[in-house]
Amino acid sequence: MSDIQITFQDLTLGTRKAKLINFKGQLDETNVDHEAKKIYQVITEMAEPVLLLDFSELEYMNSKSIGYVTDWFTQISAKSGSVSIIGPKPNILDILKVVGITQIITVYSTLEEAKTALGALKSATPGAPAVTTQASAL
């Protein structure tokens, strides 16, 4: 089984509670079904999920892993929440682009950039979704 460590951290963005989820290692066929359940659990527990997927230490993801990210996005959007991707390595960003994920989920270079953007969005437009669906400029 490929090595993957997923850790969770609570954040506050403006007035909103958010969950920072760090992925360290490789997501592939051997582990993604099991690991994805942890993310679904978070989505279930949060009334209006705001998830920041920290991919800065993610070394590999296969197509099924990307499929799960899409499904998380769909479920989170249905609960008026938001999901963002933070700091992917070039190979991860490359594969996210080729399957169109960067067209539906905003990618930030750093956590600070994400915090600033998401906090500002929430402050500037109360009640509005914290994340736009515009393509990343990365």
Binding site: S2, S63, K64, G67, T70, D71, P90, I95, V98, V99
Partner: protein, 180 residues
């Protein structure tokens, strides 16, 4: 694409290598490496590492393309493990490359897996899905072959094996602009 070498015509690793090895105009014999592994996804991380190593060090592809080809091989291998060969059977992966020209990979299953499909079925699936807007795909599956492999290989084809299995064959040529 016409100026590129045509590594194979018969779509099997053996034919490809024999044809190149016997080519008197070939200045250097192509690299050929074959790996046989049990039908178990446990080994895929090792296959990815191996793909990365030979692509970066022996083919002339850039690091970006090494990562891309790693994904291509991973997706084809995963399909073979998940659908093509039963547990207890094998998957055969063959890499063929001429440095600074191309790399091709053959992934052969035994046709004993959970979802036996013919080469024609696979080509039909690929042709009908490769131009789909990826943002419209809402299922967890369905991006490996039709998006990743189709976009990052110059040619993808399937051959029915004599023993009933399937061989997936992908080729990527080096573009002068893509080399290091």
């Amino acid at each position: 694409m016409d100026q590129n070498p045509a590594p194979t015509q018969g779509h099997t690793a053996e034919q490809s290598v024999l044809s190149k090895s016997n080519d008197p105009t070939s200045q250097e014999a192509p690299l050929k490496i074959t790996i046989i592994l049990p039908t178990n996804a446990y080994f895929m991380a090792g296959i990815r590492d191996f793909t990365m190593t030979i692509t970066q060090n022996m083919t002339g592809f850039s690091q970006q393309w090494a990562y891309r080809l790693q994904s291509v091989v991973d997706e084809l291998t995963n399909n073979a493990i998940e659908f093509g060969s039963a547990v207890g059977e094998n998957i055969t992966i063959t890499f063929v490359s001429e440095k600074n020209k191309y790399i091709e990979v053959f992934v052969k299953d035994t046709g004993t897996g959970s979802s036996k499909m013919s080469a024609a079925d696979m080509m039909q699936y690929l042709e009908s899905h490769k131009n789909i807007d990826p943002t419209t795909i809402t299922s967890i599956r369905g991006r490996g072959l039709s998006q990743i492999v189709a976009n990052w290989a110059d040619k993808v084809e399937f051959t029915d094996n004599e023993d009933g299995g399937l061989t997936a064959h992908a080729i990527k040529y080096i573009d002068a602009n893509e080399q290091l």
